[in-house]
Amino acid sequence: MASKVSRDTLLEGVSGLLEASAKKKRGFLETVELQIGLKNYDPQKDKRFSGTVKLKHIPRPKMKVCILGDQQHCDEAKANNVEYMDAEALKKLNKNKKLVKKLAKSYDAFLASESLIKQIPRLLGPGLNKAGKFPGLLSHQESMMGKIEEVKSTIKFQMKKVLCLSVAVGHVGMKQDELAQNVNLSINFLVSLLKKNWQNVRSLHIKSSMGPPQRLY
């Protein structure tokens, strides 16, 4: 499926966004969002538009991941300077709702070893579920650092009742081509999920947190 956003338009938009952001330095690292306006889509009748997509470059560099690991994974986490907790540490929380909530707030995401993930409901109750921080599975078949990279590179999107969707695809500290790649990947993936693909897209913009929107389509 050919993209309706030409390479030139994309690069112009991205560089425009980065320039505007560089002109007015902010006290925080601005997020870059992709905003999609939809058309010919009825949220009441059509299939829900939501899911996750893995980007090429990490959009949120400051994302904090905690490993809930078995012995092997805890050792590996320690060796790689990644924060971790073992089963004993989780048991100490004693299923206390306040403590579990605090734990959930302390990290952006969790990864848990197979043996530990099955015990989460017993050890912690549904606190992580409610916070939207239930751990992803960390198996021994894959590299821990690789999985952490994957978690940091994956973004969620969910369309609610209005016909527009906003997705964080990067930040203003990224290089132009990296940001462009993330934007391009997101556009192509999201459009591929729409029933009529490009016929369901009314507009596309990218925008930094404090900057003006740059129209791409």
């Binding site: 009748k45 997509v53 099955k118 109750g125 409610k130 599975l137 009529k196």
Partner: protein, 410 residues
């Protein structure tokens, strides 16, 4: 010279520009196709359209189908909150005699989010509407027998529900809601007393999209959400903390859940994600059994373009093997095929000829190998085949039973 140019300019203004939507449609059609030489040889089982009924002549979609245990009655739910009841003839070859059980509200912003026959008879039907109530109808009188709706007491419960199910012994109904004021609910009702029994609200962060009770264990329930979690509950326990048996993180967004059994009769839960992937898990431990992403399933049904793909449902055959029903979106979704799910691969199973719509729900009568589909053009379709797949063997060979066409000699 100037006159010619002006004339040219005037003519150009009068000429109608090609409609960009038409161009795009044509471009899209050119980009998809089969990746196999011969669909008939690639898919061992050919299903043909045996019967078809146009439910809606407006723009309404068939979103929900329900049938009784013996497939004698078909309930059809529409995107405008209307419900129709049809009879399926004893031979399983035609649908007829429909009547309207529930009419649409004019300009209704409400749709049907589930249909369930309450017990083994074809008489008691539960109808869920997205504005909240689940209604129980006795089809012998078409009268509403009961209405299950949450009345808030201590906290704000959203008025809308997204899905519901009734349990194996027909005593409990569970409704899943959207996220509302930082809470997402699973609401429980006692069928007989009509009273609300309580709610769970700690196990999901985002909208619930699927609620499924186990087919025979009345206490076992699974729920799926946009947050990617599948929660498994034993509702013998009244406390949510104790009831939550297991949480499985699909790391995606759940669209539809189904219960299955593996060869050892262990419970399996399958999930179709909102991004058209398929994953299945062992219920007890939560271990992943199978996982196929959208491109793999697209190849499985022998099509080229993942951007033109609609994963509809996962069904059980009589020997517990699972097949996926999948189709396309362009050209009104004409492609409809199924693939058998093996441990590490998908096997082309059936091709359905004559489909005219994007299919949104399906029912499979495993005993008689009949498929019912409903979708966005407002049709319900009954599909049958002359050669019937009984089982998908791991060796890749299919056991085929041919319906006997022998004419009796006299």
């Amino acid at each position: 010279m100037a006159n010619n140019f002006n004339k040219f300019r005037q003519d150009a203004v009068k000429r109608e520009l090609p409609n960009s939507d038409d161009e795009e449609e044509a471009a899209q059609l050119a980009e998809d196709g089969d990746i196999c030489e011969n669909v008939v040889t690639e898919f061992p089982f050919q299903f043909n359209l045996k019967d078809e009924v146009a439910i809606s002549l407006q723009q309404d979609y068939v979103l929900s189908l329900g049938a009784d245990t013996l497939f004698t009655r078909l309930a059809v739910g529409l995107s405008n909150n209307a419900v129709q009841i049809h009879d399926i003839n004893p031979a399983g070859s035609s649908i007829s005699n429909h009547y309207n059980l529930m009419d649409n509200g004019e300009g209704s912003k409400v749709s049907i989010c589930g249909l369930r026959f309450l017990d083994d008879t074809p008489n008691l039907l539960l109808v869920g509407s997205t504005d909240g109530p689940v209604r129980l109808f006795d089809l012998r009188t078409s009268a509403e027998q009961a209405r299950y709706e949450y009345k808030t007491q201590s906290f704000d419960v959203p008025e809308s529900i997204t899905s519901f199910d009734s349990n194996a012994n027909g005593r409990i109904i569970c409704c899943g809601t959207e996220q509302y004021m930082s809470n997402t609910f699973l609401l429980f009702f006692d069928v007989r007393t009509r009273k609300q029994m309580g709610a769970f609200f700690e196990s999901h962060e985002k909208d619930v999209t699927s609620v499924r009770f186990h087919k025979s264990n009345p206490d076992l329930l699974c729920s799926g959400s946009v947050d990617g979690l599948i929660n498994i509950f034993d509702i013998k326990e009244p406390d949510e903390d104790e009831a939550l048996q297991n949480t499985i993180n699909t790391e995606s967004s759940v669209y539809r859940l189904n219960w299955h059994k593996n060869v050892y009769e262990k419970d399996i839960i399958s999930c179709i994600t909102s991004t058209n992937d398929f994953k299945s898990y062992e219920c007890g431990e939560g271990d992943e059994v199978a996982s196929f992403e959208r491109p793999e399933i697209v190849t499985g049904i022998r099509r080229k373009n993942p951007a033109n793909f609609n994963l509809i449902n996962a069904h059980n055959m009589t020997d517990n093997s699972i097949f996926l029903l999948a189709g396309t979106n362009h050209k009104e979704g004409e492609i409809l095929r199924s693939v058998g799910v093996m441990k590490n691969k998908l096997q082309p199973l059936a091709n359905f000829t004559g489909n005219k719509q994007i299919v949104r729900d399906s029912l499979f009568d495993a005993k008689r190998n009949i498929l019912f589909t409903g979708g966005e053009c407002g049709f319900i379709t009954l599909w049958t085949s002359d050669t019937v797949p009984e089982t998908i063997k791991t060796s890749g060979k299919m056991k085929v039973k041919t319906k006997s066409n022998k004419r009796t000699p006299y």
